[in-house]
């Protein structure tokens, strides 16, 4: 039987037509091609100049450099890259200056206990660096942590709140969980049960007694809740959550998870869930609920891709960074306030606030932006 035989009520025909109609008008700008080529050439160290010309150019540069040194009579030591100033960046940095000094791409960002941590490539290693000057107050015993060599850029970093650090990331098939309790000097791989390895989406957070709780969904829709105990991992009951988990809020055992347009609430650390608010309700107080509340105030945000942002919780205050902008909710149940539009084009991958006024948002392209006025104005930080 031909798979393409059209029938009026054939759901497969409707499906094909749906996608064709949605995607047909989409066009990628021509600059995307030139940018991709430029990056590929730069990263692949492929030059358009011939090798002899490069060698001559290098020699001339060396000679001129030596001449300068001889004239000055000192030896210049390259300055080490410094961390981010906590008070904010200078507004005098021009775009030209930024272009002349290419910044390393920030691969991941996390805010924990009012400290900002950035991970970026340094040589062949991935290093997690605290940017807070008062390192003695940092959650780890040292201001930088060398991450395992195989860490992917999609790693999720979870602080234990004491001296430990968890690292959860995906590999080609499955998930890897590592832990360090000595600032990254050594890493231990934490055993994951086979069923966790097959999860397509995992949300991780710390439960009571600094235990790590994983909440995940598998390809066939089955759900898991695994809590690390002394005896190993414990699989929880199926929760009915399907697909990837979007935003996960946590406060004292109370969880709210947004997932594919639905909001679920758990009052027992994920052991059981109930559907909190169905999209379309006008009277629900639930704010798991990030999507629900924002939808009530700005319906069109949903069409802009509301759920493709990221969220951060500090105390009772929540922030989300979505394509439509950056929003804040001061307390559960209160309306959301839009602080500003996203300061960059494209998606945000991480947002975090180290205080009520100072916060950071990381773009999918690895650019870090900072605010020092609570999220109304943003400036490029790294």
């Amino acid at each position: 039987m031909s798979k393409r035989r059209p029938r009026q009520s054939d759901p497969e025909t409707v499906l094909r037509a749906y996608w064709q109609k949605q995607a047909a008008p989409l066009r990628l700008s021509s600059t995307s091609v030139s940018e991709a080529l430029r990056r590929a050439e730069r990263d692949g160290a492929i030059h358009l100049e011939s090798r002899p010309r490069r060698a001559i150019k290098r020699a001339l540069l060396n000679l001129s450099g030596l001449a300068v040194l001889a004239a000055v009579g000192i030896i210049v030591v390259p300055r080490l890259a410094k961390g981010l100033p906590h008070q904010g960046i200078s507004s005098g940095t021009t775009q030209a200056a930024q272009a002349a000094a290419p910044q390393p791409r920030i691969l991941a960002m996390t805010v924990s206990q009012n400290h900002l941590w950035l991970s970026e490539q340094q040589g062949t290693s991935l290093v997690l660096q605290s940017t807070t000057p008062r390192v003695e107050a940092a959650p780890l015993s040292r201001p930088s942590v060398r991450l395992p060599h195989t860490t992917a850029i999609t790693a999720r970093i979870i602080f234990s709140g004491r001296s430990g650090l968890w690292l959860l990331h995906t590999v080609s098939k499955g998930w890897v969980l590592k832990q360090t309790q000595n600032g990254g000097t050594t890493w231990q791989t934490v055993h994951l049960p086979q069923n966790v390895d097959t999860l397509s989406s995992v949300a991780a957070f710390l439960g009571g007694n600094h235990r790590l709780i994983l909440l995940g969904t598998a390809e066939d829709g089955m759900d898991e809740r695994d809590v690390q105990t002394r005896g190993g991992w414990v699989s929880g009951p199926a929760t009915g959550l399907r697909g990837a988990i979007g935003t996960l809020w946590r406060q004292s055992g109370h969880l709210e998870a947004s997932q594919q347009g639905q909001t679920y609430v758990s009052d027992n650390n994920g052991q059981s869930w109930r559907l909190s608010a169905v999209f379309g309700s006008a009277h629900s107080r639930s704010t798991g609920g990030v999507l629900q509340a924002l939808k009530m105030s700005q319906p069109n945000l949903w069409a802009e891709g509301l759920a493709s942002g990221t969220a951060f919780q500090r105390g009772l205050t929540r922030w989300v960074a979505v394509s439509g902008g950056i929003w804040r909710q001061s307390r559960l149940g209160e309306p959301w306030t839009k602080l500003s539009p996203l300061p960059f084009s494209g998606a945000a991958v991480s947002v975090g606030f180290v205080s009520d006024q100072t916060g950071y948002v990381l773009s999918a392209r690895g650019a870090l932006w900072e605010t020092v006025d609570g999220g109304h104005k943003w400036a490029r930080a790294r």
Partner: protein, 171 residues
């Protein structure tokens, strides 16, 4: 080298919109799809420039795109599909009830089910090509596609039944 660059550039121009559309269909969000498409084009360009004898094929391009989408999706939550007619500003009649039902049904599927349906119905790939993109055997691709079809059909019929029922209410 310049010649190779021109060839690679022509490939990127040829595929850029389809890569974007595939990313959008998988992610459901235009901005995220742009980022994923940009990353896919970068990886394609870099590989082709570093391997002068390599000739790209469509399934290979879809594979690279899929990987870029998966990387991005793991960093950003997937965009949901609008479920409520009111979100469309009262344009349900123009939007078409069928499309709303399809959207509702797609939301119920897992990422893997949705993915295999996209490759088969949106890109019109054969099961052999779907297998190549997913990195599985042709038999596994057929089985996965069969299961995804059944689940979509069930979800679609359920969605159509919801429209004719009392509608969504407070949970």
């Amino acid at each position: 080298m310049a010649e190779r660059r021109q060839v690679v550039e022509s490939w990127l121009v040829q595929y850029k919109d389809r890569v974007f559309r595939l990313a959008f269909t998988l992610l459901g969000n235009k901005e995220a799809a742009e980022d994923a498409a940009q990353e896919a084009l970068y990886h394609i360009a870099r590989w082709c420039l570093e391997h002068p004898d390599f000739e790209i094929t469509a399934p290979w391009v879809w594979q690279v795109t899929r990987n870029a989408v998966r990387d991005l999706a793991r960093r950003t939550p997937p965009a949901a599909v609008p479920l409520d007619d009111t979100l469309l500003g009262g344009q349900a009649a123009d939007f078409g009830e069928d499309r709303i039902d399809v959207a509702r049904a797609l939301v119920q599927l897992s990422d893997a089910d949705r993915e295999v349906l996209v490759f088969f119905y949106f890109l019109d790939l054969s099961t052999r090509e779907v297998a190549q993109v997913l990195g599985i055997t042709a038999t596994a691709a057929r089985i996965r596609l069969s299961r995804a079809r059944k689940r979509f059909k069930a979800a679609y019929q359920e969605a159509r039944g919801d429209v004719q029922g009392e509608g969504e209410g407070e949970g």
